[in-house]
């Protein structure tokens, strides 16, 4: 339902965002900034589809000096509210770069450094975290992601903050056979688990609460591992 509401949200914010842009376009500086952002877009986009495609993103990454699997690229995508993995549309590009105040590669590079701090703020992080899951849903009506990708994603977004928890979770996910895919609810559960549960003693974990079953199983597995 988070997904549903957020698609609604992006659906409504996009037009208003562009309306915003046209209204403020009267200011000269703004017009110029927009122009430069558009030019930057054109330097990476595919003319035929008017989108930055995977090749363009790779080029962008190398210009920025970061790997395309770097968490900051995911954060950039979050900032752009990019809908489709591996593709940036012009609207998305404008929304993202404008809010980062970046109209050159050099500025973008710099902004990217600050972006991580912004994302790690508690008020933003939950949104980013759930975005990370949605971003990986590439197929129509896809609702879950295979455990292997989940392991990578977990490490990417939570690894630096909760390295022990992520380490154990990944180990568990890799050795169990009950779950081939992870859904949004479980994904959100992982984060809540990392945030709330004292680790590794797990003493405040209560399986009678509404934790997703996979976490009950994980906790059981942890206990077996320990003993």
């Amino acid at each position: 339902m988070i997904r549903r509401s957020s698609t609604k949200k992006t659906g409504t914010t996009n037009p208003s965002a562009s309306a915003d842009l046209s209204r403020t376009a009267s200011g000269k500086a703004v017009t110029k900034e927009l122009e430069r952002i558009g030019q930057l877009f054109n330097s990476y986009s595919n003319r035929a589809t008017n989108m930055i495609e995977p090749e363009g993103i790779e080029a962008l990454c190398s210009d920025l000096g970061v790997d395309h699997t770097d968490v900051r690229i995911l954060m950039l995508a979050w900032k752009m509210k990019s809908e489709k993995q591996g593709y940036f549309t012009l609207d998305e590009w404008r929304v993202g770069l404008k809010s980062l105040h970046a109209d050159t590669i050099a500025k973008l590079k710099k902004a990217l450094m600050d972006l991580e701090n912004e994302v790690r703020k508690p008020s933003n992080f939950l949104d980013f975290y759930s975005y990370a899951f949605r971003y990986c849903l590439t197929e129509e009506k896809q609702k879950s992601i295979d455990t292997e990708s989940i392991c990578e994603l977990l490490d990417l977004v939570l690894g630096s903050q909760f390295s022990h928890q992520v380490g154990s979770l990944v180990e568990y996910l890799k050795c169990q056979n009950d779950y081939k895919v992870i859904n949004m609810d479980q994904w959100m559960g992982f984060f809540r688990f990392c945030k709330e549960i004292s680790f590794p003693d797990l003493k405040n974990y209560d399986p009678d609460l509404a934790w997703p079953l996979i976490l009950d199983n994980f906790v059981d597995w942890m206990k077996v591992q320990k003993s």
């Binding site: 339902m1 549903r4 609702k143 879950s144 859904n183 949004m184 609810d185 479980q186 959100m188 559960g189 809540r192 009678d208 609460l209 509404a210 934790w211 997703p212 079953l213 009950d216």
Partner: protein, 620 residues
């Protein structure tokens, strides 16, 4: 006051009285200079008289004596004091009528008693109480005591219930508590539980008696409560240590006594019913553990359980041991519930039970009327004692068995019996439980009706054996016809060396027979026809799987139903509501509820409330 020993002569006395009379006449004649008596002073003097008397005569006389003698003196003087109060208050009667009434002062009699209370009672109450208690204890130990004296002694405590309670009753009750605890700890070492109960009942009776003899009636309730508490309730070990003695077989009299004793105590029956439950549980479990479980004889097993149930049922209902008390009804029910939901050996009780009913129903059909009656009886009792949590599982087994009976023992099954069996199940478990099975029997009936119609209508036009199926399909459009080839059978003849033997095989076996294999040509048997049994299939596993699948839908439906009504609910409450709703069918595992809940969340029927992940909301 005059000296006690000096005799007052009439003239001397009369002259004193005459002074009074003269004064009276003067007042009546209104002769000046004659003042009225000062009532105030007379009243004070009246009180002083008592005080002097009590201090100078009463107390010293009492203090000289001790124990029972003190008490006797006390009672004696108490009655004398009463006489004195009566006389003196008559003497000054006019004070009562006018002075006291006008000034709303205490009455003369009350003043007299009050003086006694303040002077004598206050200084002697501890001693008197002690003596009274000592005497009561002596009586408890079998001595004869002077009950009238006791009663009289206690009367002086009656100056108001407050002082009876404060000065005597509390001390007495405490002493009683000590006494009972002492007795209890003594008896519990020496006696068996039934003996203990006999003694306890006697003691209670005696105490009750003593109340009616010399204690205030308001003490009875408190006294009995104390006795019961210390003698019966405070003795958890009574049941732990001796419960086999109490619940041993055929001791209805002991049980009755025990029930009687505990009946009047608030929550008093709880420990007994708990002990009863434990006893029944362990009895049923141990008696069914060894032989039966190993041999897997469901017939013997079920019969034995029914027997045991009958026995304990009798305690609760037939004989009056437990007077049909709800508490014991519940205990019995729960005991069997515990047992019925354990595994017996490798098999589930639900499975054994269905096999048992299958056996009986098959037999009933097969033997028709002549042996039917004795077999029917166990069936009636069967479902009263088997209280299963997993009723759906039992239903699953029953369905399987019924299907087999209907398909294979077609000649031996009796629809009426099947129906009466089902109606019993329906009574016990509800319509939901039997609807599918009833449908099966109805289907068969419809099928045979259809067949008859078909035969009548079409025999002349078609060769019905070839068109049977088409016909059925047209009539039952909304039904799916599935052929269970695996249920078919095939007759083959094996040409063995000694003699040919007819082999009845299932479809699968017949298919296998077309394969190449080596044949034991020397095989022979005294039978001319042999039914080759199938290797045992794990029917249990199938049934459990099917039931599990059904449960998933049932839990889903239950959760959605609850959430639709409540909209937003704490997860814990949802689980509780769900368990309650489903308990009629089965006892769901918390884990399966959680699983269904998370599944419903991911299918967007439900959502976690923002900010409180343990609260679930309904998505319309």
């Amino acid at each position: 006051m005059a000296e006690p020993n000096k005799i007052i002569m009439l003239d001397e006395g009369w002259s004193t009285i005459n002074q009074g009379i003269t004064k009276l006449i003067n007042i009546l004649e209104k002769i000046p200079g004659e003042s009225q008596f000062d009532s105030n002073k007379i009243h004070e003097r009246y009180e002083e008289t008592f005080e002097n008397y009590l201090r100078s005569r009463f107390l010293p006389a009492i203090h000289e004596k001790h124990g029972v003698f003190m008490m006797r003196e006390f009672v004696e003087r108490w009655s004398r004091h009463n006489v004195m109060v009566r006389w003196l208050s008559r003497f000054f009667y006019y004070l009562d009528r006018y002075y006291i009434a006008r000034g709303s002062l205490p009455k003369l009699e009350d003043t007299g008693i009050n003086c006694f209370h303040i002077i004598v009672h206050e200084s002697l109450k501890v001693q008197v109480t002690n003596v009274v208690i000592t005497l009561i204890n002596r009586e408890r130990d079998g001595d004869e005591i002077d009950r009238t004296m006791l009663k009289n002694a206690l009367e002086n405590f009656d100056g108001g219930l407050d002082c009876y309670v404060d000065d005597f009753e509390t001390a007495f009750l405490n002493d009683t508590a000590d006494y009972c605890s002492r007795k209890a700890s003594l008896w519990i070492q020496e006696d068996s539980c039934p003996e203990y109960m006999i003694k306890a009942e006697e003691l209670l009776k005696r105490e009750k008696h003593s109340v009616s003899n010399y204690l205030h009636s308001s003490t009875e309730e408190k006294l009995l409560e104390k006795v019961q508490h210390h003698l019966l309730l405070d003795n958890a070990q009574l049941f732990e240590k001796e419960h086999s003695g109490c619940h041993g077989d055929d001791k209805t009299e002991d049980l009755e006594r025990m029930y009687r004793l505990f009946y009047n105590i608030r929550n008093g029956l709880d420990p007994i019913s708990t002990a009863f439950k434990q006893h029944v549980t362990s009895e049923v479990t141990t008696k069914n553990k060894d032989k039966v479980a190993v041999a897997m004889q469901e017939q013997a097993f079920v019969r034995r359980v029914i027997e045991l149930h009958g026995k304990y049922y009798a305690y609760v209902y037939v004989t009056i041991s437990f007077k049909k008390d709800n508490l014991f009804h519940k205990a019995l029910k729960e005991a069997f519930e515990v047992f019925c939901n354990k595994k017996v050996g490798d098999s589930l009780v639900a499975e054994l039970l269905s096999t048992f009913s299958d056996g009986i129903l098959g037999k009933v059909g097969a033997m028709r009327n002549w042996v039917m009656m004795p077999l029917r009886k166990p069936l009636t009792r069967l479902y009263a004692c088997f209280l299963l949590d997993d009723k759906d599982l039992f239903a699953g087994f029953c369905k399987k068995k019924l299907a087999r009976r209907l398909l294979f023992d077609k000649n031996s099954t009796d629809d009426d019996h099947e129906r009466s069996f089902l109606s019993k199940l329906k009574q016990q478990y509800g319509a939901q439980f039997t609807s599918k099975m009833e449908g099966m029997i109805n289907d068969l009936e419809i099928a045979s009706d259809t067949q008859n119609i078909y035969k009548v209508d079409y025999t002349n036009k078609y060769d019905y054996t070839s068109n049977d199926i088409d016909f059925n399909v047209t009539i039952k459009k909304n039904r799916k016809l599935t052929f269970l080839y695996s249920m078919g059978s095939c007759n083959g003849t094996g040409k063995f060396q000694k003699k040919p033997i007819e082999l009845i095989v299932s479809t699968h076996q017949a298919v296998v027979l077309k394969d190449s294999f080596s044949l034991n040509v020397e095989f022979t048997d005294k039978m001319r026809r042999i039914k080759i049994p199938l290797p045992p299939v794990d029917e249990k596993k199938n049934v459990i799987e099917d039931v599990d699948k059904d449960r998933r839908y049932t839990i889903d439906a239950s959760i959605v139903r609850i959430m639709k009504a409540r909209k937003v609910l704490q997860y814990n409450n949802l689980v509780t509501a769900c368990v309650e709703q489903l308990s009629r069918m089965f006892k769901p595992y918390f884990k399966s509820i959680k699983k269904r809940n998370t599944d419903l969340i991911s299918r967007e029927f439900l959502e976690r409330e923002e900010g409180s992940p343990n609260t679930v909301g309904y998505l319309a």
